[in-house]
């Protein structure tokens, strides 16, 4: 339920988040957007005193965004010992919720650091892309009431962060594909020109021109496109 004194209402927040969801992001802008999501989460979710986003990047678990310096300590002790709510959320792909860290028996190393930072409750939601957890949204609270009252908005943030991650992943792979396609088309163009030159010079068909280039490539152990380039530049040097 929305109370009148709340400054941000969930509907407005969901509109902002939904707008961000459609954007393809590079790694740098991704981190900036995750920072924004973390701050929005902290100001919107009741009881959230510190927020961070854990990601697996290049096979390593890292904190990609955080609202407070204390979070770095809370997160890194989990990564170092591979034990803690955010590590479990990642490994198991389920929400890990602990309202009373003081009574918790799991994660001994993490509990010490949490206690030192006055953290009483934690909730880590997995961020999933194609059903695979690739990160976690971590909420830390000084109050032992936990986050049950804001259950829906917590889920909303988790879902939107997942969509943004999926888009960032799509960006990386589409960028790579674009580059490979551009290379392929350049090569194809070069080979097409070389075939045209050979057809005119040798009076042969396009397929036969390809055979000439292909045999030269085989015999010299050079790429066919490099052979084609040589043919094209030698023709360009010839006076007409």
């Amino acid at each position: 339920m929305t109370t009148p004194d709340e400054t941000d209402n969930p509907e407005e927040i969901s509109t902002i988040l939904a707008r961000m969801g459609g954007v393809l992001l590079t790694e740098d802008t991704l981190d900036a957007v995750l920072d924004l999501i973390s701050s929005l989460a902290r100001s919107t979710i009741q009881g959230a005193d510190a927020v961070s986003v854990t990601l697996v990047r290049d096979g390593k678990i890292i904190t990609a965004a955080y609202t407070d310096d204390s979070v770095m300590q809370l997160d890194s002790v989990q990564y170092e010992n591979h034990s803690g709510p955010c590590v479990s959320a990642l490994d198991e792909g389920v929400v890990i919720d602990s309202k009373k860290l003081a009574e918790e028996t799991r994660w001994p190393e993490f509990r010490v650091v949490a206690r030192d930072n006055g953290i009483a409750a934690v909730r880590s939601s997995p961020l999933k892309v194609h059903d695979r957890a690739i990160g976690a949204l971590n909420l830390y609270s000084r109050s032992s009431r936990g986050f049950d009252e804001s259950h829906e908005i917590v889920e909303l943030f988790g879902n939107q962060a997942s969509i943004i991650l999926a888009n960032a992943e799509a960006y990386t792979s589409s960028e790579l594909l674009n580059e490979q396609l551009r290379e392929a088309l350049r090569s194809r163009e070069m080979i097409g020109q070389a075939k045209g030159i050979l057809m005119e010079r040798e009076g042969c068909s396009a397929d036969e021109a390809f055979d000439v280039l292909r045999r030269a490539s085989q015999n010299s152990n050079k790429k066919l496109r490099d052979i084609a380039k040589e043919v094209v530049s030698s023709a360009a040097r010839e006076p007409r």
């Binding site: 080979i191 097409g192 397929d207």
Partner: protein
Amino acid sequence: VHELVGFEAARQQAMLSFDDLWIRYLGLGGEATHDEMRGYVEGTARPSSHEHDVLAHALNERFMDMDMDSPVPYSRP
């Protein structure tokens, strides 16, 4: 000694996905779509002798990158 192998065995040995192979094939002037090429590789469709050789060369250039002999035979000498 070259051990001559079929397209699918060569594709696996070359560790190329169908997407990777198709982009290489396209770059050499191949005319078939991704799915048509996949049919050639898997043996469910027959390429013309020219398309066969373009595909063979795409694989053999990959073996060139891997410093291996070219094991895929051409249909023309």
